[in-house]
Symmetry: C2
Amino acid sequence: MNETDHHLIGHTPSAEGTDFFEARDPVKGEVLDGRYPEATADEIDRAARLAAEAFPGFRATNRADRARFLEAIAEAIEAVAEPLKERCMAETGLPRPRMDMEMGRTLNQIRMFAALVREGSYVEARIDRAQPDRKPLPRPDLRQMLVPLGPVAVFGASNFPFAFSVAGGDTASALAAGNPVIVKAHPSHPGVSAITARAVLSAARACGLPDGVFSLLHGRKPETAIQLITHPAIAAVGFTGSHTAGRALMDAAARRPKPIPVFAEMGSVNPVFLLPGELRANAESITAGIVQSFTMATGQFCTKPGIVFVVDGEESRAWIDRVRAAVAATTPSPMLSEGILKNFRTAVASRRDAKAPALTAEGESAGERTASPVVFRTDLATFQAHPEWHQEIFGPALLVVTVTSLEEMCAVARTLDGQLTASVHSADAELSDAAPLFATLEGIAGRLIRNGFPTGVEVCPAMQHGGPYPASSDTRFTSVGTAAIRRFLRPVCYQGFPAAALPPELRDENPGGLLRLVDNEPSRGKL
Amino acid sequence: MNETDHHLIGHTPSAEGTDFFEARDPVKGEVLDGRYPEATADEIDRAARLAAEAFPGFRATNRADRARFLEAIAEAIEAVAEPLKERCMAETGLPRPRMDMEMGRTLNQIRMFAALVREGSYVEARIDRAQPDRKPLPRPDLRQMLVPLGPVAVFGASNFPFAFSVAGGDTASALAAGNPVIVKAHPSHPGVSAITARAVLSAARACGLPDGVFSLLHGRKPETAIQLITHPAIAAVGFTGSHTAGRALMDAAARRPKPIPVFAEMGSVNPVFLLPGELRANAESITAGIVQSFTMATGQFCTKPGIVFVVDGEESRAWIDRVRAAVAATTPSPMLSEGILKNFRTAVASRRDAKAPALTAEGESAGERTASPVVFRTDLATFQAHPEWHQEIFGPALLVVTVTSLEEMCAVARTLDGQLTASVHSADAELSDAAPLFATLEGIAGRLIRNGFPTGVEVCPAMQHGGPYPASSDTRFTSVGTAAIRRFLRPVCYQGFPAAALPPELRDENPGGLLRLVDNEPSRGKL
């Protein structure tokens, strides 16, 4: 094996294990070059200890240095963008336009966190000045800001080999906050992971950061992941993936002698509700929108709409015909891995066999290595009797559920699991009719969408990508957008500190002009 | 039994159980009037369902209505302040000046959350406006704010019968956020709990809020607490108390089919580090300060300093003599309950028996129902060999650990558990010597104090009352101060919403002049 296939424990390659795996091209079905070792307990321990050793030095860096580090990571990745994209297409079957788009998003995201850290108000500084004459007791000077939590274990996702992987949003936000990161690479794109990790490490070296600020481990066994997150040096976990894996991490983290927070984003069915008036007015664009949204990237997005609720009637039946026609015109496309394709086929076959959700639409016949979109249809009573159909199928499958009224839509919304998103299509005249539905959906979803589709997760301050369990492990946080940094920070209050002993962010001069809460009033000024 | 002793499931008294307990006066050792039933599974279920039913109506209240509700609670409590204080002194043995102070703090706290909610910026509104012409894809309008989580179970603490109990900080912050609350009353002050609950409910009725917005359950069995927090309708938990009970709640919440966040504040030893120069300069005030801090309220504060580290030498030996004299002059005082007194005596006896921590100082001999302050002393090696002495003794006990250098202080700080607070006394000339110690302590404590003592937790925006585990369950949050509301809120993003369907806080007009993040810039203006 090549040294490029090794784990990277800080800057030191390591390959002590005797268990190896390989990457496969899901389109050609061929084994790709590279043999990746499963991380051993000793290697995990070394990576975690090195991260803990690097933490004091890394947390002591100033914000400008950390911003520079993030920018250096973006530059280092850009320098190997072409080899990354080539390897990524081979490992994931995703097409080049997607590579370009996802690479752009990933670089923007890293630079967005660099800008956030450089600006600095994300530390949420709060200052309550001393009141020495207060009765009955004087008030001391109290100043609070957010500081990093400690080494973060990040688990890359299969479906975003750049944007939610080695240098994706979790890594970028954890590093931005000042935490060392250990990435457990997703085993379906180990080559992409290795190239990305070397770029991150070259940036760390160029910026003179302590060894251990970043490490990469390979592995595909659940035990490897559990060993990593139960290591005493690990302070938090970022994860995007399946419910089974996410819950296993949550459980293991909760059972630790010292439990740690896990932020797991585990996908959802992202229900879409079509109100009759809007469907009547815009059947064509709703058809195009929903078909694009559930088939895009072969349905492999955590925000893929998996269930559509419509009020049964002439319009909705005509609309289902439109969907049928649109789906029939789709061409099969590859999935991210053989395992994912197999799971998709099994899930679809199980619904086919059940027959109660009638197969309503199907794309052109799939080949040996591709998936074809399918649409099932059922009524509300049957849907309610089958909780298994409330679950996500990862891939281009959609279930249309017919209801008889808006009240039934509200009632079924209340029974759904936690969701990343919920979408409602309603005409302006239907807005007040839709209000109770929105109120219900607000309780179960992290993002509510009107007259739009859930795929396409904007990276911005107002984004919430996370929802009530099981969509994510802790609905109080997001994994996309600037607020994602908040997952990996904790407040510390400094009482009675002289200026020289305070972090710059809390000093009277307010050198960066941060937005701070001073005596309960927001201010960018000095004291 | 009287109806005043019943559970209050919303406005409906209930007492279906057959298991009862009584309150005892810890000073007189007498049983007080009142017989309190242990909540049954059915009563817990009814309270939780009623809270879930009340939630949609309560979350739909506007901020002004919720602020008014909190103010009405404060007024209703004030109206029964005297009976509350009388009963509280009988149930807890705390003296009248403490009653007055804690009542004042409790009312201030409730009104502080009223003001926070009325002002409104706590919803952390973020608006990213649409960019319809953006290439390659238009950006939709995205607006985010914090909304309530759902029914919160609150567990009162024994040591703050007003401020961390039925209408304490957890309840006030959860209600302020828009969540129904079910309080499980602390069994050592059930009478105070019952009077307070009736005040809260009278305010709820006066404000026309849905029945179930507040309930009170009695109980003293762990199973009762577990049944409550594992009910599917409960969305979050607030707790202040022992590590054993807090961890049991954390574990039960994590094992639920749908895990929920638990915010447990479980106390700590709040280490104090005395640097030689400062000790030399201010031995007298440091003596008075530490003795007051560890003996105040019979040492029954979660921020009571339990361990002091000093550099061995002439000054520190002279200082220990001063402490000895000051402690000898203290008079014994009652503890909150017979159980707590017994636990304190057992813990002290176990250290006495161990002999290695030498008994250095003791207050005047304790009576049958009172506790006397004690100070033990040991050296670093012995301390390090006995992890059990790193743990909190709830009550007026202090352990002085002598070290040989500042480096040893830093080294031992690294081995301590998570703490609510850590205090360093250092002269100005010692500030740079103390810097590595502060940097270490920042990693293990939520609040760092210079030249002060940890007791006295200011209720203000900059307070952090919470620290790394085991001080609290999630160091990312506080249970004191305005930021405590953040525990019980979650962000929701509204995409493509017309003004009429948006919450007022997110509309262009910004009716309340909230501080919002608009296109990544803070603004109190309209759009």
